[in-house]
């Protein structure tokens, strides 16, 4: 009797709060959890006539096909190498901007710099693709106009592979560096000013202050941000690799990433099996990496761990 009463009391007390979470819970189930159970598609020989559940199981055949094709190697190589470039260069520029920005923060104009630098991050990849097109359009682009006016041969940008690693890296850094610097600016403003005062009294120059105080103080936040981005090394910005190169087939060799492959398999080639196999491969690796990164972050600094 006692426990039953208690339980009823418990329920009565918690029910209103539980009801508040119901809409969100339903959304998470539809948007996140049902697709998680849907990963079994990767182990099926999809046949639209038989439907999702009627299609025969095929074990790991989809994965075997995927990794036997040269596609897998190309897309994994692109995803990882681009991400490495983005992480290294992106962190370098973000920290550089942050250090310089905190140097001039008393002058009052840092707001304008920040506004300009963050701006590219606020527009969609579709707009970015228009901007890139204004530079690279074979007929009307700024670059070809400049090349021709200097007596050179115009370049067919959207069919020549060799330029694209550079174009994509520049585009990505342009879009994200200012935004990523925000975190570092906040951390620098949190550094104890007496450290700098002491260093100056000892006669340390500005560069020494940066290398001996600022960077060591930023070490933990930089480590955390690096770990978190390494955890996403198998994920790519679909828009950057799909919109910006204009889905140009001639460029697949240098623009195909796991995300564009999954999209093309699903929406353009109707290759559901391999597409979902690539997607599952990405999700599982991502899961392992997130868990590992979080474990490492927790070891370095318990407060900053994600969970």
């Amino acid at each position: 009797m006692q426990t039953k009463k208690l339980r009823r009391h418990d329920l009565k007390k918690n029910l209103p709060l539980l009801l508040l979470t119901v809409p969100g819970l339903i959304y998470l189930i539809i948007n996140n959890y049902l697709p998680m159970f849907g990963i079994f598609i990767a182990f099926k020989q999809m046949d639209y006539a038989k439907g999702l559940f009627g299609s025969p199981w095929c074990g790991l055949a989809n994965f075997k096909f995927l990794f036997a094709s040269n596609q897998a190697g190309i897309m994994i190589r692109n995803t990882v190498l681009y991400n490495l470039a983005f992480i290294l260069l992106g962190t370098f520029f973000a920290v550089l901007i942050a250090i310089l920005m905190s140097e001039i923060v008393q002058l009052g104009c840092s707001k304008f710099f920040q506004a300009g630098l963050v701006m590219p991050n606020l527009i969609s990849m579709v707009i970015v693709s228009y901007i890139v097109y204004a530079f690279l359009s074979p007929e009307n682009g700024l670059f070809n106009a400049l090349i021709v006016s200097m007596g050179g041969e115009p370049i067919s940008w959207y069919t020549e592979e060799k330029w694209w690693p550079l174009i994509l890296i520049v585009t990505q850094i342009w879009k994200t560096a200012g935004y990523s610097s925000i975190v570092y600016i906040a951390s620098i403003s949190g550094i104890d000013p007496s450290l700098y005062e002491a260093a100056r009294i000892d006669g340390a120059g500005k560069l020494q202050q940066i290398f001996r105080i600022t960077l060591p103080q930023l070490k933990s936040i930089i480590t955390i941000m690096l770990l978190m981005s390494c955890a996403r090394i198998f994920a790519s910005d679909f828009g950057l690799f799909y919109q910006v190169p204009q889905n140009s087939g001639a460029l697949y060799n240098v623009t195909q990433t796991i995300d564009t492959y999954v999209y093309r398999g699903l929406m353009q080639n109707g290759d559901l099996g391999m597409s979902s196999a690539a997607g599952l491969f990405q999700s599982v690796l991502g899961f392992i990496l997130v868990m590992t990164a979080n474990y490492l972050v927790r070891k370095a600094d318990n407060e900053s761990a994600l969970f």
Partner: protein, 301 residues
């Protein structure tokens, strides 16, 4: 001013270097925007001869005039974008806050369970293919407004954590306890106390959500091919696709967008400018909240 007196020569020259360097990269960051703006007001025939340029010799507003004349397609897609952004942001704020508040209550029995359910979505996802099948085969949202509203954008773990942390750090539990003692119901506490208290963090969350909805084109790419439901980003995307298909000689594969003609080179840039303008207008008012949100989210997300 005392500070400046104490600067050594090295420190002063470093400040000057910082100022110059930041000026240069800020200009580099903004220049591409200037280019598409200049291109959008360049005379069409001049453009065809000389290409996009920072310094066109002949100007014309024909691009914008064309857009105004195309009110039934461009204007409509603009309204779709505004509508979706408004409704989507409101829905997101409501779902996020309703989910976050109970998670902030230490005396809520299912707190840990629900937190885990939320957290897990940040660690693992089923991928695009199962998501696509759930939304199209099970929920049947293809070519409806729900297609633009529902997938992925309506509630995210990151925003929920932002709001939950705001409640745990800024609202003392005593407020809830005394309200309960005074006989308020949980719903009353949520509506009359918690919602108003969360305005500052919800400005940030609304900003993130609003930007995500305004800039979204992936939902449209996957779930919409009826021009009736085209937002501005989607319109821009389809126009670009058609241009690419035509110029690559694959005219047969042109996406069916019979409602639109393919605008000429200058008008395209006018369209892109029109897609950026709302963000440009809103940004100065929102910068502070955006920065704050990024900082709070990064420090403890």
């Amino acid at each position: 001013m005392k500070k400046y007196k104490l600067l050594t020569r090295g420190e002063l020259s470093f400040k000057v270097f910082a100022l110059i360097f930041l000026t240069v990269i800020t200009i580099l960051a903004v220049l591409p925007f200037v280019l598409i703006f200049m291109a959008s007001i360049t005379d069409e025939t001049w453009l065809a001869q000389h290409g996009y340029s920072f310094f066109p010799k002949k100007f014309s507003l024909n691009g914008y005039k064309y857009l105004i004349n195309q009110a039934h397609t461009i204007g409509r897609s603009y309204l779709v974008s505004i509508g979706i952004t408004t409704v989507g942001t409101a829905a997101n704020l409501l779902l996020t806050t309703m989910f976050a508040y109970p998670l902030s209550r230490k005396d809520f029995k299912y707190r840990n369970l629900l937190s885990f359910i939320l957290f897990f979505t940040m660690m693992f996802n089923g991928g695009i293919v199962p998501s696509y099948l759930v939304w199209t085969r099970l929920m049947h949202i293809k070519n409806t407004y729900f297609a633009l509203l529902c997938p992925n954008l309506m509630m995210g773990a990151f925003n929920v954590l932002l709001v939950r942390n705001y409640y745990t750090t800024n609202v003392p539990p005593a407020i809830v306890e005394s309200a309960l003692l005074d006989g308020a119901t949980e719903m009353q506490i949520f509506r009359k106390i918690m919602l108003p208290l969360s305005v500052p963090v919800n400005v940030t969350v609304g900003l993130f959500a609003g930007l995500a909805y305004w800039n979204d084109w992936t939902n449209a790419l996957y779930y919409v091919d009826d021009p009736e439901f085209f937002g501005i980003q989607n319109m821009l995307m389809r126009i670009m696709q058609n241009i690419t298909f035509l110029s690559s000689g694959q005219a047969g594969k042109v996406v069916d967008t019979s409602a639109m003609t393919i605008p000429s080179v200058g008008i395209r840039m006018a369209l892109a400018v029109v897609g950026i303008i709302p963000i440009l207008i809103a940004y100065p008012f929102l910068q502070k909240h955006l920065i704050k949100g990024v900082v709070v989210g990064a420090v403890k997300g």
